[in-house]
Assembly symmetry: C2
Homo-oligomer: 157 residues x 2
DNA sequence: TGTACCGGTGTTACACTATAACGGTTTTTT
DNA sequence: AAAAAACCGTTATAGTGTAACACCGGTACA
């Protein structure tokens, strides 16, 4: 585990994050339709999680406000292709911070400001996955989430 | 990490699990009211997760069927006091398999039969918690969940 | 003995999250 | 060009979770 300064909680050139996401999509030959682009753009504004209905409200194209399935379809596609992650503890979604090398991602999420730090963990460190595999379990997905209050929000409170 | 044979997926004396839970409640001086008992009993029947509404349906006392808040209140209490865990990936609940020594629990959950194996991980292995702490993050809760299909269900399919 | 408090319960109503299903359109493949 | 697949718009509904308020029963304490 190399990462000791979570990206979301430190200053950084956020344009790089956006570019990396677009590049990853391009390299994988993904089809970013209008809604998918809009949803991804929204999430890429910041390393914060957003609920589906929150996204839905901000979604709008040529004055057209879409219905829930539109948002959920876009999200499903983006999650499937690794450009977006779902934060289970918040029923919310966040743009992937490392679309290039995103294998095993863990998240540190602030309850207050909803910032999300994404941490890649080496699979050798994921004991749970080993145990699962050893007992013949076929893993489909894995999550690791730490929820609490970030340093900034502690100060503000 | 010692656990190499997940309890839920192996034969074991399940009465011990139930007894351990009751003992833990007693030792902590918890107040197990009728609904809390009923909910806990339901979950202790097996190492399987159940949704709140599934629990609600099976909940009944002297012919009285309670409303949703009743189930949620009991679940909230049991989760708070460590007798029950919430499985985020399934919006479901499962009885704690190790109420004595339950600090950092990870879960291996089968999508098909909903069996849940609970694995304790040494906190030294929880890198995410370290990183969080190092950056001044105040952790409130942490989860680790692996979802997939267990060996038995693979055979059945 | 009262009375003030507190945790638990019953009840109603509602908020939030997510999906099924169907038909039409566009895009891709053959 | 025809067939198949993917996408989108729309309606309706399913599933999950909570706010709020009234009531009840115990208990602490004046």
């Amino acid at each position: 585990m190399k990462n000791t300064v979570p990206l979301a909680f430190s200053d950084h050139n956020h344009e790089k994050c956006r570019a990396a996401s677009i590049n990853a999509a391009y390299r994988q030959g993904l089809r970013l339709t209008k809604w998918r682009q809009l949803v991804l753009d929204l999430l890429l504004e910041d390393h914060r999680s957003m609920g589906a209905y929150e996204i839905l409200e901000k979604l709008e194209c040529h004055g057209v406000k879409p219905q829930p399935p539109t948002a959920y379809r876009a999200l499903e596609y983006l999650v499937e292709h690794g450009l977006v992650h779902r934060i289970e503890k918040q029923n919310a979604y966040v743009a992937c911070a490392r679309p290039d090398m995103c294998r095993n991602a863990g998240f540190i999420v602030c309850k207050t400001c909803r910032k999300v730090a994404e941490i890649e963990y080496a699979s050798s460190e994921a004991d749970l996955l080993h145990i699962a595999a050893e007992s013949g379990f076929e893993t489909k997905s894995a999550i690791m989430e730490v929820e609490g209050v970030c340093a900034d929000c502690q100060k503000s409170a």
